[in-house]
Structure formats: structure tokens, C-alpha cells
Symmetry: C2
Subunit: 236 residues, 2 copies
């Protein structure tokens, strides 16, 4: 995952992971891990000051399926938590990264191609809160000069780590079942109102985005990671 890559580049002790839950043993052993409650502003400030934090990567959120099952908690974590993070980053001059989602578009957005800027009328509390995160981040940038960055992730299919919940969880299960056919078909199974083709020309010109893996390399890499499970499933 991201933490592993960051620690490789910046040093194990320069990247602190946090959660409100105890992680598995191998996470504790891999580097610094502390308690952090996104809804406790003082706790966030304390962590920033005590650890001389300069970058903040904010992943806390209840995703689509989990959020719909608990709208009130999703609103707290995804919106109040966002506000706390924006404030702590602004107050302490941190650089802030918050991911958004392709779900931030919604059924009325153009799907093929899908431009960066278009109609955004999504239909879940998770997606609505991500539109809010995009707008608030831009607002804090213009208003306070906050260095805010955001990327709209598609559903992430991970071979080496389990996702926290939501649609992404379905991907992992589905990817194990369908990988032999075509990875792309999984996307349509889960959310057929989502964008089909992204126009990534802004990302290519603004910050030099380019993909490292084509579809064949992607499938090969996934098979290398999940090989044993996958073969077992296909054997059935």
C-alpha cells in the first residue's frame, strides 16, 4: 500500500500511521502507529505538534455501502472529520492530500468521455461528502493558501491488502472470481452508472500523470500476488 511506498522513500520513522482501532501485529511492527480520532480536534493538533507533522494524508471515511448503513456516523466522519482536517492543516501549515472518488460524479454526469469538470450530483452520503471535500479543499486553497491535493480514485482492486469496506470490498471478492475473464467487467457489475472513460489530459499536462501498468501487466501482477487463491477458486 501507500504507507509502504512512503516509508521506502522517506524513512520508516518519518511516516506515522494512525487509526481508532488496533491494527494487526505486522502493522505495529512495520513502523510508528498511533491512536488518532478524526473527530477530536485537540487530539489532531497534539499529534501534529508532538511529531512535527508536515504532510497529512487523510483517508478516514465511511465508504458507499457502509455509509448508507449508518448515515449519521458517515456524516460525522466524512464531513465533520474533513472540516477538522482542513482546519488542522491550515492552522499548522501542513500539505494536505484527500482522495475523492469517481462516485463524486453521479448518474447525470457525462460518462464517455468523463471530463474533470462537469455535473456532479451523486446519490450516496459517501459520494456527496466527497464532492464537499473537493469544494472545501479548493475553497481553503483560495481562501487560506492551503496546499490541498485531491485525486478521484476508481474502485481499487488490491492484491496485497484488504480494503476497509464499501464498494471496494466487493471488488476484492469479485476480482478473485472474475479475474480469468476480464478485469474491466468487474467495474460494470458493481456500478453501471459510473463513468466509462476518463479524460486524463489535465492530469497528464498539470502534473505529468502517466500509467505504469497496461491491462496485461496489471493482470499479470495481480495473478502473481493472488496466484494461490485464484487457482484454488478456478479449480472449483
Amino acid at each position: 500500500g501507500l504507507a509502504k511506498l512512503l516509508r521506502k522513500q522517506f524513512g520508516k520513522y518519518n511516516v506515522i500511521l494512525s487509526d481508532i482501532r488496533k491494527p494487526p501485529a505486522h502493522v505495529y511492527q512495520s513502523g510508528p502507529f498511533i491512536f488518532s480520532d478524526i473527530l477530536d480536534y485537540k487530539n489532531l493538533c497534539e499529534i501534529v505538534v508532538n511529531n512535527r507533522i508536515s504532510w497529512l494524508i487523510h483517508y478516514s471515511a465511511l465508504l458507499s455501502a457502509v455509509g448508507e448503513a449508518n448515515v449519521s456516523l458517515a456524516r460525522d466522519v466524512n464531513i465533520t472529520g474533513l472540516h477538522n482536517v482542513l482546519d488542522v492543516a491550515t492552522e499548522h501549515g501542513l500539505r494536505l492530500f484527500i482522495p475523492s472518488t469517481i462516485g463524486a460524479f453521479g448518474p447525470m454526469s457525462p460518462r464517455n468521455p468523463n471530463p474533470d469538470l462537469c455535473i456532479q450530483r451523486p446519490r450516496t452520503i459517501y459520494e456527496v461528502s466527497k464532492v464537499h471535500a473537493e469544494l472545501m479543499g479548493e475553497y481553503y486553497h483560495h481562501r487560506y493558501g492551503l496546499d490541498f491535493r485531491c485525486l478521484r480514485y476508481p474502485g481499487i482492486i488490491s492484491a496485497d491488502s484488504q480494503p476497509g469496506g464499501g464498494t471496494t470490498a466487493e471488488y476484492v471478492i469479485l476480482s478473485h472470481l472474475y479475474l480469468s475473464f476480464q478485469i474491466v467487467s468487474v467495474l460494470f457489475l458493481v456500478a453501471d452508472s459510473w463513468p466509462m472513460v476518463f479524460d486524463d489530459s489535465n492530469a497528464r499536462s498539470d502534473w505529468g500523470w502517466k500509467h505504469n501498468y497496461g491491462l496485461p501487466e496489471l493482470i499479470q501482477t495481480m495473478l502473481n500476488f493472488t496466484g494461490s487463491n485464484f487457482r484454488m477458486l478456478r479449480a472449483n
Copy 2:
């Protein structure tokens, strides 16, 4: 204003006004008025239950200029207050009206004509919170069946009441100064990135919207109301 029209139609005692501040004497005398704090959820429930409320018209907000001067309070009133109102309306089966604003579009939206559904990337906390209100209202409608209605108001120039603050306040002042030229020019003075022409075809077909006043009738009506102040200004 709206309260006067509603009381005329539904009866003086069937429309309750509220605020966290004491209103002027003539407001007290015009019908029921009570304390209501949008940030106190229990207080909202109490009012709804004790008064058998069935419709809720939610105007509490810090507008553009005032909001920028106090972002934290604007976020509380405009976003947390919104969430409280959505919850109380859903919980008690109220019909809910919340105005939005033409400021909910932003500098990247098409201006001429301006469609209902398009890019919305506004740049003030007030406008960002109104995009959030639109999306949350739609979400609560789809998720819980809430009867949520929303209208995007332009800057409102009132002849018979003073606005609460924000850009609208500038309008009243400007309208007194510029009314002799052309009322439309005021809009460009205040916010020249705002939409120029609205495509109101959806409103006309969805709920029979039509205008009662053209520009000549509008100016005549305003002059009748503000005649004395206006003549005084022009005399200088």
C-alpha cells in the same frame, strides 16, 4: 416578504417566525415569533412537536460577505444547521424548503445560458455550503423520501425589508443609487462572474413557473416603494 404572503394565505397563527435575536416591535405584533437555535437539535424538535409543525422553511445562513468574515461560524450555521434541519424534517415528516443561490455555480459554470445542471465549483463558504445543501436535500429525498424543495435565488433587491447581510446588502444600497439607470447593471457591478441568462425551461415545465413582473413593472414597483429615499439621493 414571504411571511406576510404565507400568513395571508394560511392564517396569521399558522405561520411561526423564529430567530436567535429579538425582532423589531412590528414583527412581534404581526404574529407568533419564537426563539429557535438552528444548532440546537433538541430545541428544533421541541418547536416542531409543541406547535404541530408540518412545513419548514429554512433561511438561516451567513451569506457571502459575512460568511467570509467568519468562516467557522458560517460552517456551523450553514452546514451543521443544515444537517439538523434535514434530520428534524425527516424525523417528523415535514416538508422542507431551503433556498440555494445563483452563487452555487461559480466562475467555471456556463454563463449564457446557464443550465440547471452544470459545473458547480463556487469560491465562498456560503456558496460551497449551498451546493452541499442542494446535494444533501436530493440525497435525503432519494434515501428517506423527504419532500425537499430548493430554489436558486439571485441577489434579492427588496424595497420593503432590509436584508440580513452579505452581497444582498450591497444590492439594497446599490439599488438606491443606480435605480435610475438600469436595475440589471447592479448585478454586474457586484459579481461579474455570475450567470447572465438562466435557462428556466425546467422550472416552467416542472412546476409552472412564470414571472409576474417584467422589467418595467419591476422598476415601477420599486420606485413606488422607495420613492422618497430615491428622490432624496438623486437630489444630491
